[in-house]
């Protein structure tokens, strides 16, 4: 059953550079279904982050229409786009993901403070999310006391604790060694299976690509190739 969750129509994004303009995305047309596990791949500057920002409603296109969860990103107010992120989209970044003054537990709990949950509910949800990534033991540690791989797993827990429909991960493994990269990708794939969350990655990383079920190749702001990889499960 097809269930389109992201619908990009003729997306063009231009940035002002000095007196002129720079076209970062040029006429992108793409659809993503609920539960997809997809990656944007392409050389540096090809527009991966720009596109993920538009999908995450952190930015809006110069032309075209980006429908996310049925909402036109360009037409949302600040508050509406914040709500869209609050309830439906999770983010994972390359580095500096966690708030350094708060513990692992509090970092994950922070995401829930923006929704209405009782303290008991929050506790249950946070512990469950930490359990997904296998970090319940580190709940009381500060971010500077844990490893980079563990930090990224906390970020996954924080992004997933609200059980968003879409998870956006911009080069999540760029700062990790191979072993941790595999651990993290496996965790995300498992959550993708269990919760049917749509995952969108951007990456240069071969290790990441091998997990993808669909790879969109970008070059100079255009879709070069869009290939569905027949899932060969249980690698």
């Amino acid at each position: 059953m097809k269930n389109t969750i992201i619908n990009l129509k003729n997306i063009t994004k231009r940035f002002k550079v000095g007196d002129g303009e720079f076209t970062a995305l040029n006429n992108i047309n793409l659809n993503f279904q609920k539960g997809e596990f997809a990656g944007f791949v392409g050389p540096s500057g090809s527009g991966k982050t720009t596109l993920l920002n538009i999908i995450g409603s952190l930015d809006s296109p110069s032309e075209g229409q980006a429908l996310v969860m049925g909402k036109d990103v360009a037409k949302l107010s600040h508050r509406e786009s914040a709500d869209l992120r609050n309830y439906h989209i999770g983010f994972i970044f390359q580095v500096y993901n966690l708030l350094p003054v708060y513990t692992v537990y509090e970092n994950v709990e922070f995401a829930l403070l923006l929704q209405n949950h009782t303290k008991a509910e929050r506790h249950k949800m946070v512990m469950e999310a930490l359990d997904w990534v296998g970090l319940t033991d580190l709940a009381d540690k500060k971010p500077d006391r844990i490893s980079g791989g563990e930090g990224q797993r906390v970020a996954i827990a924080r992004a997933m604790v609200k059980r968003p429909e879409i998870l956006i991960a911009d080069e999540p493994t760029a700062n990790l060694d191979a072993e941790n990269a595999h651990i993290i990708l496996k965790m995300m794939k498992r959550l993708n299976d269990e919760l049917n969350t749509t995952f969108l990655f951007s990456t240069h990383d071969e290790k990441v690509m091998q997990y993808m079920e669909r790879i969109v190749h970008l070059r100079d702001g255009e879709v070069e190739k869009d290939s569905i990889i027949v899932a060969e499960k249980d690698k």
Binding site: D59, R79, F91, Q94, L99, Y102, A111, R158
Partner: protein, 423 residues
């Protein structure tokens, strides 16, 4: 959420410490300076009230016009009748009489020839009448260097330095030469019962203190007095109460006769009005300058702090917090930091003020030639107002500074803020 913010403030010292220190410093200084000015101005006024102006003073209009010349010929007659009237009509005040007089003191040797001489500035008080409160009011007993307060007619206290200059000791006799109320010459011999040092050069210079009954006798001022002074029984000057009493009295008793009495408030005498106003203006100015300076400094630390926290703002935006909410929480955070800093500053300021109230600054060396009645040690004063005079501006400055700093962040595009996350 507040709980989360508080945790953040307390844990991230670098975020909160500088603003807290700045706020505490500013607030502490504001409190200390206000307290010190309050104390200084209050002391000057209080001192003037005790020694010179009373909370109110009654003189004849003619006397008031020439009071610098101590015109005892223009004194108020039927003094005891007036005092009685005042006691019944204005019972909230204590009423006492004083006579000022000038003349010459002559120290005779064994043969009755002049050994030493000096000009005296005399003050006659109700010393024998212990209910008058003059001893306590002017702190006479404690100001005595040697000897005692006059207890019977013919005894006098003389300024300690004056006594040294004239080479006098306790029990010596001096003769006062002056003129009576009617302009004829008079003299009277006194025995020195004590020497005094008020610590106020105006009061100490050539001082001669006697009981008012001796003065009335000596100056031919039977039942007359130069001044009637009124003091609120609470001991604290209250402009409102005092002006009401004054206008009531003047409406009733002041008339076109230049020998009719007129009442003056403390404020109306010796330029104390401008002094009182000056005190208020200075306090206001000090607070204004501090708030301005603190706001500017906090604005800048807010900007720096904000820059360091772009990462945090980016994460929070991504988590779905609206920009306006982030801005709101920054302001809320500044309120919390402002409260912590201001509370700290107020405590420090109060402690310093209290210390300066106990210790004070000795300015006697500057006062040698001063013609004003001023205490020789300027002390601060802890007043209830000090609990908020720095606190409120401190919180406001912190919030104001943060709001200014936050606008810059607020105005930036979401995506631009977000970019800070990429390295």
């Amino acid at each position: 959420m507040i709980q989360f913010l508080l945790k953040g403030i307390l844990r991230d010292r670098s975020r909160s410490l500088l603003p807290i220190i700045i706020t505490a410093l500013g607030v502490g200084l504001t409190v200390l300076l206000s307290g010190y000015m309050k104390g200084a101005f209050g002391d000057v006024i209080d001192q003037n009230a005790r020694f010179e102006t009373g909370h109110v003073k009654i003189m004849t209009q003619a006397y008031a016009e020439n009071k610098d010349q101590i015109p005892n010929d223009l004194s108020l007659l039927e003094a005891s009748k007036w005092v009685e009237t005042l006691h019944t009509e204005f019972a909230e005040m204590q009423w006492i009489q004083r006579i000022k007089f000038g003349g010459l003191i002559d120290v005779p040797d064994a043969d009755g020839n002049t050994k030493a001489q000096g000009p005296a500035s005399g003050m006659a008080l109700q010393l024998f009448d212990t209910n008058s409160g003059e001893n306590e009011r002017m702190n006479i007993e404690a100001s005595l260097v040697i000897g005692t307060i006059p207890e019977k007619s013919g005894e006098a206290i003389i300024g300690h330095d004056f006594a040294a200059k004239l080479n006098l000791k306790l029990g010596d006799e001096i003769t006062f030469f002056g003129s009576t109320m009617n302009g004829s010459m008079t003299f009277k011999t006194f025995v020195i019962s004590g020497t005094i040092k008020f610590g106020t050069s105006v009061m100490d210079k050539g001082a001669l203190l006697i009981d008012i009954s001796d003065a009335q006798l000596m100056l031919d001022m039977e039942n007359a007095t130069g001044e009637i002074l009124g003091y609120l029984k609470s001991g604290v000057y209250n402009e409102e109460v005092v002006s009401k009493i004054t206008s009531t009295f003047n409406n009733k008793y002041k008339n076109t006769d230049e020998f009719s009495p007129e009442m003056f408030t403390l404020r109306e005498q010796n330029n104390l009005a401008s002094m009182l106003d000056y005190g208020d203006v200075m306090s206001g100015l000090v607070i204004f300058i501090f708030v301005l300076a603190m706001s500017i400094v906090l604005w800048n630390t807010g900007l720096l702090g904000g820059l360091r926290r772009y990462q945090e703002f980016g994460i929070r935006l991504a988590l779905g917090e609206a920009k306006s909410k982030i801005y709101g929480s920054m302001v809320l955070e500044s309120v919390l930091i402002g409260i912590i800093g201001s509370a700290l500053g107020t405590v420090i300021g109060l402690a310093l003020t209290y210390y300066m109230q106990v210790v004070g600054i000795d300015i006697s060396s500057y006062l040698e030639s001063s013609s004003m009645i001023m205490p020789s040690i300027i002390r601060a004063k802890v007043t209830p107002e000090l609990f908020y005079i720095g606190f409120i501006p401190g919180v406001l400055a912190m919030v104001f500074g943060t709001m200014l700093a936050g606008i810059g962040i607020y105005k930036r595009e979401t995506a631009t803020l977000f970019k800070e996350l990429e390295v």
